[in-house]
């Protein structure tokens, strides 16, 4: 073998632990979870063995077969075959196998072996297999397959040591499959019989849990309670933490501002721009983390595919598929990973429908907007001695988005009018106790992403908005606040003509424009605009009180309705374009989402006004 860096590709069935093993080998922190299709694109990393040899490691999406059925499988198939456009064929294939699911995974091993490339089988989750009474004779397995078989436990610190040691040794040779295995299925059966012994064939833990979670009555009830609890928690647990952040931001802002001359532009930039704007978004970090805590635990536990199973019929009726459940649930965090997760969907029609409705799922960037408005307009009351009224309204907004998505999918289904079969064919994984370390890591990553957004795009847009709101300076003898004469004032008043029927004032119109960069920016922009319109400086939490006094209830409800639908996020549109490779899809999404937003807001405001809340 040459001294050049060898390339290793990790392949295997979905959810067998490829990414966990990849993280173990390369020290990466790629996302792992407990459902098929977490990894939908190739990820690369570098590893150095104990002996100092270097490898480029490629983590590939899981595949059931090299005859690819979905876009993510196609990536794996083309790289293994050496036909991928930008990635050369790997020098060594590490085929990862879930020891508890060997019967299924062995077929893929045999398929990969037939490619004739040097390979190693990593027999992963050996600990779980032993616990379940599955005994595997790995020496015999290696002999049958004609390739090295290494036992691994990717979730343990030393679980990949044997694999690393093996890579340090002699380079693996192409497999020497036994000749009498012509048909893959027969071969798999023969090998299974020769190498695996089940010592505990009784009902598994999964069967006992599934009896409840998949029960025709108890199952949907458990799902509904779970979802409702999450939204209650997001609203009620976060309050003390949000108050603490708010106090901290005002303290820092006040201290910095006190060092600057009072009526200078710099003082205004710090108090009106940065504290009012950026600080106003920062307080929502606890809510976002609580939401992610729940999503991560659900992802790790293996419950999500069960929910997809329960909801498949309902989703199919409206023109989606149960498989869309996981991408759509990820869209509650952010539509971008949600849209990317649709790569694991084999049916291109189902995939397109899911991509088009994903932006209707309430992403975490909407939370600041919703929370601000709900806290300002909905009384803090307990309903039925148990539920927080604000939490119920928030839950209602999520439901509104979901119902909207179902309606849109339903219309699309009827426009499309095709009658061929849509396949589900979804694997349900074993349950797993969420690993606290993985959860903590996932939360830390989300917090970093959020803080980066706050410090990056939200900060930049806020500062930019401050400049546009400060210049040009008002003419001599002007009476109103300076912002009325600035670029921002001009844009706001111009847009106001279009949006006045929705009950929006010009300050809201201003906030919506930078809000296209990221939804939370609307909150920071409102903070800046109000702060510069002569209201008390440093208003990160007073913003709510202020709009509570100045806006009609109808205006607030109308803005909430707008945010349920409006595609206020350029990144989402860009990802749609990349994933569908079509501007047409983006334009359809843009037109229908803005159209629905306008109609929903118009109806909300006009009804509210007619009832006397305008």
């Amino acid at each position: 073998m040459s001294t050049a860096v060898s390339r290793i590709a990790m392949v295997g069935n979905p959810n067998c632990g490829k990414t966990a093993l990849f993280n173990r080998l390369t020290g990466s922190r790629q996302k792992v979870a407990n459902y098929a299709g977490v990894t939908v694109e190739r990820k690369s990393g570098r590893m150095t063995t104990v002996a100092g040899r270097e490898f480029d490691v490629l983590d590939l999406p899981g595949a059931y077969s090299l005859a690819a059925a979905s876009p993510d499988e196609a990536i794996t198939a083309s790289i293994c075959a050496g036909t991928h456009a930008s990635e050369a064929a790997p020098d060594v294939i590490v085929c990862v196998v879930d020891a508890t699911n060997l019967r299924l995974h062995l077929r893929f091993v045999l398929e990969v072996a037939r490619l004739g490339r040097p390979m190693i089988v990593a027999l992963n989750m050996m600990d779980a297999a032993r616990r379940r009474g599955v005994e595997i004779d790995s020496t015999r397995l290696a002999a049958e397959l004609g390739v090295p078989v290494i036992e691994t436990v990717a979730v343990h610190r030393e679980g990949a040591a044997a694999l690393i040691a093996h890579l340090d040794g002699t380079p693996p040779a192409p497999p020497t499959l036994r000749a009498d295995h012509d048909d893959i299925h027969t071969a798999a059966r023969v090998i299974m019989d020769a190498t695996v012994r089940l010592t505990n064939p009784g009902p598994t833990l999964e069967d006992r849990i599934d009896a409840w979670t998949l029960h025709p009555v108890a199952g949907p009830a458990i799902l509904a309670v779970l979802m409702f609890l999450i939204f209650q928690a997001v609203f009620s647990w976060a309050v003390p933490l949000m108050d603490a952040i708010d106090a901290g931001v005002n303290l820092v802002g006040g201290t910095v501002a006190s060092l600057l001359p009072v009526h200078s532009a710099l003082h205004s930039l710090v108090t009106d721009g940065i504290v009012a704007g950026v600080g106003g978004v920062l307080v929502f970090l606890p809510q976002i983390l609580i939401l992610f805590l729940f999503i991560l635990m659900l992802e790790e536990s293996g419950y999500l595919p069960r929910a997809a199973f329960l909801l498949d019929r309902l989703m199919f009726k409206v023109g989606l598929t149960g498989r869309a459940f996981i991408p759509l649930l990820s869209s509650f965090a952010c539509a971008i990973p949600g849209i990317m997760a649709t790569r694991s969907m084999a049916d291109s029609r189902d995939r397109l429908a899911t991509i088009l409705v994903a932006p209707l799922m309430t992403c975490s960037a909407r939370l600041p907007v919703y929370t601000l408005l709900i806290a300002a307009f909905i009384p803090h009351r307990t309903v039925l001695d148990l539920f927080n009224l604000q939490g119920i309204v928030l839950f209602g907004l999520y439901i509104f988005g979901i119902v909207g998505a179902m309606a849109v999918a339903f219309v699309m289904k009827h426009v499309r009018r095709d009658s061929s079969d849509h396949a589900l064919l979804m694997e349900l994984p074993a349950y797993r106790m969420p690993n606290p370390r993985d959860i903590a890591l996932g939360l830390w990553q989300r917090a970093r992403i959020f803080l980066k957004r706050v410090g990056g795009i939200i900060f930049t847009v806020t500062v930019l908005l401050w400049f546009l709101a400060s210049f040009p300076q008002p003419p001599a003898g002007a009476t109103g606040p300076a912002i009325e004469y600035s670029v921002v004032g001009f844009i706001g008043h111009y847009l106001h003509y279009l949006l006045a029927p929705l009950g929006f004032n010009w300050q809201i119109c201003v906030a919506l424009v930078p809000g296209m960069a990221a939804r939370e920016v609307a909150v920071s922009a409102l903070g800046t605009v109000y702060s510069m319109s002569g209201n008390p400086a440093g208003i990160s939490h007073q913003l709510g009180t202020l709009i509570g006094q100045q806006w009609a209830l109808g205006t607030a409800l109308s803005l909430l309705a707008w945010y349920v639908f409006a595609p206020q996020c350029i990144s989402t549109l860009a990802v749609m374009r990349r994933e569908t490779n079509s501007w047409r899809v983006v334009i359809i999404a843009l037109v229908y989402l803005f159209g629905l937003a306008y109609l929903a807001s118009l109806a909300t405001y006009q009804i509210a006004a007619a009832l006397g809340a305008g």
């Binding site: 059931y64 077969s65 299925h185 599934d210 199973f309 329960l310 589900l424 064919l425 694997e427």
Partner: protein
Amino acid sequence: MTICCIGSTSSARYRLRCKWFSIDYPPVQLTELPKNRPARVATIRDEREGDPIAQRLRDLGFIAGERICIVARAPFGGDPLLVRIGGTRFALRRVEAARITVEPDIPEF
């Protein structure tokens, strides 16, 4: 000689068995198999030439002779089905499951 009741949800069927002969039970569609009744896969039928769903089923291990069992039926009309085959659980819609015929195991008495 024993008479075994191996009834399905729609109609009870009986089968004669004695030590000299046995009559093979006719395969039924997977969708007709009662919950938790062990069976073996008999055939996978192509709906049309090169049916991708049938091909996928074979890739996933739905092949003649494999042990199969319905673990659960979804709410709202029993579609999809949760099927266990060779230790793996798959959710299949009824249209997919209709491509599969199975031979139910005879309960031992």
